[in-house]
C-alpha cells in the first residue's frame, strides 16, 4: 500500500507503524513510551504526527498505516505539540539532572560526585575528583565564598553539607602522597537541559531529614539515571530551558528505592509510560489513576523483575547503581 508522508509517497507494508515507515525514509521522530521490541501502549505523545485528511493528532509509535494515509511529521504544529508534551511531562518530573552544588562551582568541581565517593568511603576516588578540578595542593575553596554550600539542597532541609570541610578532610588524607596517578577530570555539560526539582514542601523536608542519613548528609540530588535519559535528550534538542507550567507532583520526591541487584527506582522521575509495567510479570504495576497515577513496585514483587528493565526506562526513574543504599 502507498501512503504520503510530508508529501512524499512511500510504500508501506501491512501492519507497519507510521514510526517505522517514517524512520525508514529518514525522518526522525522522538519517542519516550516506545522501545523497539518491547510491549508498549502509546501514552507520552512525544511521537505525535498529524493525519492531514481528518486533522487528527495520532501517536506514530502504535498507529498502523492504512492505504492512502496522508501524514505530516515535521510541521511547526507537530513540533509545537511535541514540545508541549515534553513541557507537561517535565512539569510533573521533580528531579535535578545535576546537583545545584556542582552547577555553581567556579572551578567546575563535580561536588556531588565527589561526595558520593566519600559517602561510599572510597576516599581515593573522591580525592581523584578533587584533583581533577583543583590545582592541588592548592585547595580551590580557600579563596572561594562557597556558592556550593549556599546552593546545597540539604540546606533547605536542615544544614547544608559542610562541603569545604569535607574537601579538606579528603585532601588531608592524601597530603603526604605525591604522585597519585590518574586524575578524574570530569566536566558537566551545562548546555544540556537542566531539570529542576523546585522547592521542598514541609512534609518532604521532614521526611528527608529523617530518612537520608549519609555520612556527609548529602541528599545526592544529581540524577543517577541521567546518562541515558531520553527526556533530557529531547528537552535539550527542543531548546527547553525550563517548563512554563508550575512544577508540582504527587510523587514522593527523592525517594530512592532499591529494587533488585543493582536496580534502583525513583518514583518522582517517572513519566508513567508503563514500559516497566508492561514488560514485567507481576512486577511493577500502576496504582491509582489520573494525575495521581503512580508506578509502584510492591516489596513482594521485587524478585519478579529483571535488572534489564532499566534499559527501557526513558527517564532517570529506573537506573543501575552500585552505590550503597542512601535510604533505610
Amino acid at each position: 500500500m502507498q501512503i504520503l508522508i510530508n508529501g512524499k509517497t512511500v510504500t508501506a507494508q501491512e501492519g507497519e507503524t507510521i514510526l517505522k515507515i517514517a524512520e525508514r525514509i529518514g525522518y526522525s521522530i522522538p519517542t519516550l513510551c516506545y522501545a523497539d521490541g518491547a510491549k508498549h501502549k502509546s501514552s507520552c505523545m512525544v511521537c505525535a504526527v498529524k493525519n492531514t485528511q481528518n486533522g487528527q493528532i495520532i501517536p506514530s509509535c502504535s498507529t498502523v498505516a492504512t492505504d492512502g494515509m496522508q501524514l505530516d511529521t515535521e510541521s511547526d504544529e507537530i513540533q509545537q505539540i511535541r514540545l508541549m508534551s515534553l513541557e507537561l511531562l517535565l512539569s510533573d518530573h521533580r528531579a535535578d539532572c545535576e546537583a545545584p552544588c556542582s552547577m555553581v562551582c567556579p572551578k567546575g568541581l563535580d561536588v556531588e560526585r565527589m561526595l558520593s565517593f566519600y559517602d561510599a568511603e572510597d576516599y581515593q576516588a573522591a580525592y581523584d575528583v578533587i584533583a581533577g578540578a583543583f590545582q592541588l595542593p592548592e585547595v580551590g575553596c580557600d579563596s572561594c565564598k562557597a556558592p556550593c554550600e549556599k546552593a546545597c539542597r540539604r540546606g533547605t532541609v536542615d544544614e547544608p553539607v559542610a562541603i569545604r570541610k569535607i574537601i579538606h578532610e579528603v585532601v588531608d588524607l592524601f597530603a603526604d602522597k605525591t604522585d597519585l596517578g590518574g586524575k578524574d577530570k570530569f566536566n558537566i555539560d551545562k548546555k544540556l537541559f537542566q531539570s529542576k526539582l523546585g522547592r521542598f514542601s514541609d512534609d518532604e523536608k521532614e521526611r528527608l531529614k529523617e530518612t537520608v542519613t549519609t555520612k556527609s548528609s548529602c541528599l545526592h540530588c544529581a540524577c543517577s539515571g541521567k546518562s541515558d535519559c531520553k527526556l533530557r535528550e529531547y528537552s535539550s534538542a527542543a531548546g527547553i530551558k525550563r517548563t512554563r507550567y508550575g512544577l508540582s507532583s504527587t510523587l514522593p520526591v527523592m525517594q530512592k528505592e532499591h529494587v533488585t541487584g543493582n536496580l534502583w527506582f525513583e518514583q518522582a522521575k517517572c513519566v508513567r509510560c508503563g514500559l516497566c509495567v508492561y514488560n514485567s510479570t507481576n512486577g511493577f504495576t500502576f496504582k491509582d489513576r489520573g494525575f495521581g497515577m503512580q508506578v509502584v513496585i510492591p516489596t513482594e514483587n521485587k524478585g519478579n523483575v529483571s535488572e534489564k528493565l532499566a534499559q527501557l526506562c526513558p527517564s532517570g526513574a529506573l537506573y543501575f547503581s552500585t552505590k550503597t543504599p542512601v535510604e533505610k
Partner: protein, 800 residues
C-alpha cells in the same frame, strides 16, 4: 470486631477465609473476573480486607500487580474500613450549583470530623463525595445508606442525621396486616430513584398501611420514572370509573384522605367508622388545611401538563402507566412486536439498512451514526460477536440512562436483541454503573422474565436466532463510558482506552467484533421498527433524527427528565417545559453535555437541539445533562468544577489528559482564588486547545470544552477574576461577608452560624468575624432584613 483475644482473632481469620473461598467458588478464579470478585468481597466485608486479598492471591490467577492496578483504579473499591453508615454527598453539576460543597462541609462539622478523617470517632458514619446520584432535580442531594435525602440545606444537616437515626429505630417495629375488600381501580406511583429520594417509598408504605387500615384492597402499582421529578412523589389514582386524578407532591399524611375520597371500603360498618375517624383526623390536624386534594384540578395538573406538552415519548414510551417489570403489560402495549417482526420478516442486512436510513445517531455523546457501527460489525464473518449496552452513565448531571434502565428495562432488552439479530451477534452484556443498584436489580429481573418467555436464550420465539445477555457492573470510573475502556474493564483491566483502529467493531471484547451502543440509542429501535421509517424520519432535524432525553436541572422552575424531539430550541425547553428560571432570575447560560460539553450563553439559546449545531458552538450533546445557570452562577467556577471532575476521572494514560488537565486546573484554581495574572488566561486557552487536539481518547478530547466555551462567551469574567472580582460571589476566596446598617440586631444570624463567627449581640448591628467565617451562606439565608452581603475582598465597597 473489637475483641483483641487471640483465639477469636484466629477464628475471625478462618471465617474470613471461608467467606472468601465461598465467593471465589461462586465467581471464579480467572484473571478477568477480578472486578466482580472484588465487588462481592466488598459487599461481604464493606471494604477489601488484607486477609481476604491474600487469599485471592493464593486461590486465583489474579496476582498482586493486577490487583493493585485494578483495585486502585476504580473508585468503588475501599481499602480501609468505613463506619456503620455511609453518607454520600452528591457533587454532581446540579448539586454543585446549589451548594453541595457547603453541605459536605456542614456534615463534616456536624459530625465533628477533623483533618482528613472521613469516619467519625465512634465509627458510626463515614462520608464521601460522589460524582452524581442522579437525582439532579432534588439538588442538593445526600444519600445515607439506602435512603436518599433531597433539598438538603447546610443548616439542616443535623435534622437529616437525626431523621435517619430515628428511622433506623422505627424500622425495627413490625406492621400489622388486616383484611381488606377488593375494589376496582388502581393507584400508580412513580418509583424511580428520584421519586424514592423524595419519599416515594414512604408514600408506598403509607398507601399499603392506609389501605389496610381502611380495608380497601386497591391495586397499588409502582410504575417507572414519570419524569416530573420536581413534582414527586406523584401518584395517579385511577378510580372505579377509570378516571385518572393526578396528585403531585403528595405527603404521607394526605394519603388517607385521598384514598377515602376515591374509594369506598367494603362493609357499611367500616365505612361509617372510617368516615368518623376521617373527620376527627381532619379536624385535629392542621396538615389538611393546605391539602392538595381541595385545590382546583387545573392548579394541580396545570404545571405538569405544560411540562409534558412539548415532549414526545419514544425511548420513554409507556411513560407513567407501564410497570417496569410487568412483561405481560409491556407486551400488551406492543412490546417485543418489533423483535418478532424483525426475526420473522427481516433479513439481518435489512435491519441494518433500516437503521442506516433512519439516520439514528449514538446517544452516548459523540453522535456517531448507529447504522454505520452496525454495518461494521455485521460485515465481520466471525461466528462469535458481542453487543454491549453502555449504561456507564458517568456525567455528573445526567441520569436518563438510569431512568430508562429502571423504568423501561424490556425496551432496552428488545433493542439489544434487535441489534444482536442485525449484526449476527449471540452474546450481550449490560454494562451498568455500580452507583445504579436499582437499575441492576430491575434489569436482572427483566432478563429472567424474558428467559422464561423464550425471548432470550436459545431459538428465540421459535426461530434460529439465539442470544443471551449478562450483566456487568461498572466499578466507578467515568472513562469507562469510552467504549475501549469499557471493554478493558470487562476484561479485568484498568479502564485504559486503546488506540483505535482497530475499532471494537473489528476487535473488541476478547478480541471479537463488538457493537457498543448506548442505552438510549437501543431504546429508539423498537419505535423505528414498529412505527416505520417514515414516521421516525419526520421527527427531528436533517442530520439529527428522533428524540433526545435530557435531564433538565439547575436553576429551573420545573426540572425533570424530558424527552423532546430533535430540533426543539433550548429556549422552548427552558420556558415551555421548564417554566423558566427558578426564582425569576435571569438566564445566563445553559450547560449542556456535562464535563464533555459546554456553556451556551442565553443569547444563543434559540439554537435547535441538534448534534452538529451543538458541536459548532463548541458544546456537545454529550450524554444529555442540561443544567440551567442563572445570573448568580459564576462561569469560571463552572469551568473549574468540570475540570476538577475530569482531572479526577482521567485514566492517567496519556500526557495531555493526565498532566495537561491538571495544569489547566492549576490555572483555574489560581483564578478562583485571585492569584492569577492576565497571561494565565492565554496559557489556559493554549493548553485547552492542545489537550483537545492531542489527547488519546474522547475524555481528554472533550474535557477542555467547558473551559473553551466559557472563554469564548464569558471571557470578561475570567478577566474580572484576575482583578480579584467574582461578581456572583461564588468564588469564596474573593469575597467576604459583611453586615450592613440594615441590621436590627435580631441575632438570627448569630444563632445560625455554625462556626460562631457572629457574636451574640442583641439589638446591636451584628459583626462577622472574617477570620472564622467559612462563608457557608447560612446567615444570608436566615436574615430577614437582607442585611448581610458578599463583598469583594479587594475593595470593601459593596458590589450589587
Amino acid at each position: 470486631m473489637s475483641c483483641n483475644c487471640e483465639n477469636n482473632g484466629q477464628q475471625t481469620l478462618d471465617q474470613t477465609i471461608a467467606k472468601v473461598d465461598a465467593i471465589i467458588g461462586r465467581i471464579g478464579t480467572e484473571r478477568n473476573v477480578i472486578i466482580p470478585l472484588l465487588q462481592a468481597l466488598q459487599e461481604e466485608f464493606s471494604y477489601l480486607p488484607g486477609d481476604a486479598i491474600e487469599r485471592i492471591y493464593e486461590k486465583t490467577e489474579i496476582d498482586r500487580a493486577q490487583l493493585i492496578s485494578v483495585s486502585t483504579f476504580y473508585s468503588q473499591f475501599r481499602h480501609i474500613p468505613y463506619g456503620k453508615h455511609l453518607i454520600k454527598v452528591c457533587t454532581g453539576t446540579a448539586c454543585h450549583v446549589k451548594g453541595a460543597t457547603n453541605v459536605y462541609d456542614s456534615f463534616r462539622r456536624e459530625l465533628k470530623m477533623d483533618h482528613d478523617n472521613i469516619t467519625t470517632n465512634d465509627q458510626l458514619f463515614s462520608i464521601e463525595k460522589v460524582a452524581c446520584l442522579g437525582c439532579c432535580t432534588l439538588a442538593p442531594v445526600v444519600q445515607i445508606d439506602e435512603k436518599i435525602y433531597g433539598h438538603v440545606l447546610p443548616g439542616k444537616v443535623n435534622e437529616v442525621i437525626d431523621e435517619f437515626l430515628e428511622q433506623e429505630i422505627q424500622q425495627q417495629k413490625a406492621t400489622v396486616k388486616k383484611t381488606k375488600s377488593r375494589v376496582p381501580g388502581e393507584i400508580r406511583l412513580g418509583m424511580g430513584s428520584c421519586c424514592q429520594a423524595s419519599g416515594s417509598s414512604d408514600i408506598y408504605k403509607e398507601l399499603h398501611k392506609t389501605s389496610d387500615e381502611l380495608g380497601i384492597d386497591v391495586t397499588i402499582k409502582s410504575v417507572g420514572c414519570v419524569g416530573v421529578c420536581n413534582k414527586v412523589p406523584l401518584i395517579d389514582v385511577v378510580d372505579e370509573k377509570g378516571e385518572i386524578t393526578r396528585y403531585p407532591n403528595v405527603k404521607p399524611e394526605e394519603i388517607k384522605e385521598i384514598l377515602h375520597y376515591h374509594f369506598k371500603p367494603g362493609s357499611l360498618l367500616k365505612r361509617l367508622k372510617n368516615n368518623l375517624f376521617n373527620r376527627v383526623d381532619t379536624y385535629h390536624t392542621d396538615l389538611t388545611w393546605n391539602n392538595v386534594i381541595w385545590k382546583p384540578e387545573n392548579e394541580r395538573t396545570g404545571v405538569i401538563n405544560s411540562f409534558l406538552s412539548e415532549q414526545i415519548h419514544i425511548a420513554t414510551e409507556g411513560y407513567g402507566y407501564l410497570a417496569p417489570l410487568n412483561l405481560e403489560e409491556y407486551m400488551g402495549h406492543g412490546g417485543f412486536n418489533a423483535l418478532k417482526k424483525v426475526v420473522s420478516e427481516y433479513r439481518p442486512n435489512e435491519v441494518v439498512k433500516t437503521v442506516l436510513e433512519s439516520g439514528l445517531r449514538g446517544r452516548g455523546g459523540g453522535g456517531f451514526p448507529t447504522g454505520k457501527k452496525w454495518e461494521m460489525v455485521a460485515t465481520s464473518t466471525s461466528p462469535e460477536k458481542y453487543v454491549i449496552c453502555n449504561g456507564d452513565e458517568g456525567d455528573p448531571g445526567a441520569f436518563m440512562d438510569r431512568m430508562i434502565l429502571e423504568s423501561y428495562p424490556f425496551r432496552v432488552i428488545e433493542g439489544m436483541l434487535i441489534a444482536g439479530y442485525a449484526t449476527g451477534a449471540n452474546k450481550g452484556v449490560f454494562y451498568i454503573r455500580a452507583e445504579y443498584p436499582l437499575a441492576v436489580k430491575r434489569i436482572r429481573a427483566a432478563l429472567e422474565f424474558c428467559r422464561e418467555k423464550n425471548l432470550l436464550g436459545k431459538n428465540i420465539a421459535g426461530t434460529n436466532f439465539s442470544f443471551d445477555i449478562e450483566i456487568f457492573e461498572g466499578a466507578g470510573a467515568f472513562v469507562c463510558g469510552e467504549e475501549t475502556a469499557l471493554i478493558a474493564s470487562i476484561e479485568g483491566e484498568r479502564g485504559f482506552p486503546k488506540q483505535r483502529p482497530p475499532y471494537p467493531a473489528v476487535a473488541g471484547l476478547n478480541g471479537l467484533p463488538t457493537l457498543v451502543n448506548n442505552v438510549e440509542t437501543l431504546s429508539q429501535l423498537s419505535f423505528i421498527i414498529n412505527k416505520g421509517l417514515n414516521k421516525y424520519l419526520k421527527i427531528g432535524t436533517d442530520n439529527s433524527k428522533g428524540t433526545k432525553v435530557f435531564a433538565l436541572a439547575g436553576k429551573i422552575k420545573n426540572g425533570g427528565l424530558i424527552e423532546v424531539p430533535m430540533g426543539i430550541t433550548l429556549n422552548q425547553i427552558i420556558e415551555d417545559i421548564g417554566g423558566g428560571v427558578e426564582g425569576g432570575e435571569k438566564l445566563k447560560a445553559v450547560q449542556i453535555g456535562g464535563p464533555s460539553g459546554g456553556c451556551i450563553p442565553a443569547n444563543l439559546c434559540d439554537v435547535q437541539v441538534d448534534f452538529d449545531a451543538f458541536n459548532q458552538m463548541g458544546a456537545m450533546m454529550g450524554s444529555g445533562g442540561l443544567v440551567v445557570l442563572s445570573e448568580k452562577d459564576c462561569m469560571v467556577d463552572m469551568a473549574r468544577y468540570f475540570l476538577s471532575f475530569t482531572c479526577e476521572q482521567s485514566c492517567g494514560k496519556c500526557t495531555f489528559c493526565r498532566v495537561g488537565i491538571r495544569r489547566m486546573l492549576d490555572i483555574l484554581d489560581r483564578l478562583c482564588s485571585g492569584n492569577a495574572v492576565m497571561e494565565d488566561i492565554d496559557k489556559l486557552e493554549e493548553l485547552a486547545i492542545n489537550v483537545k487536539k492531542s489527547s488519546l481518547c474522547g475524555l481528554g478530547k472533550t474535557a477542555p470544552n467547558p473551559v473553551l466555551t466559557t472563554l469564548k462567551y464569558f471571557r470578561s469574567e475570567y478577566e474580572e477574576h484576575v482583578q480579584g472580582l467574582c461578581k456572583t460571589g461564588t468564588c469564596k476566596d474573593l469575597i467576604q461577608y459583611v453586615v450592613t446598617d440594615d441590621c436590627i440586631g435580631c441575632t438570627k444570624c448569630a444563632k445560625a452560624c455554625p462556626v460562631d463567627a457572629i457574636p451574640y449581640t442583641p439589638y446591636e448591628v451584628h459583626r462577622i468575624n472574617t477570620e472564622t467565617c467559612v462563608k457557608c451562606g447560612l446567615c444570608i439565608d436566615e436574615c430577614a432584613f437582607d442585611a448581610i452581603k458578599k463583598v469583594p475582598i479587594k475593595d470593601t465597597v459593596a458590589s450589587e
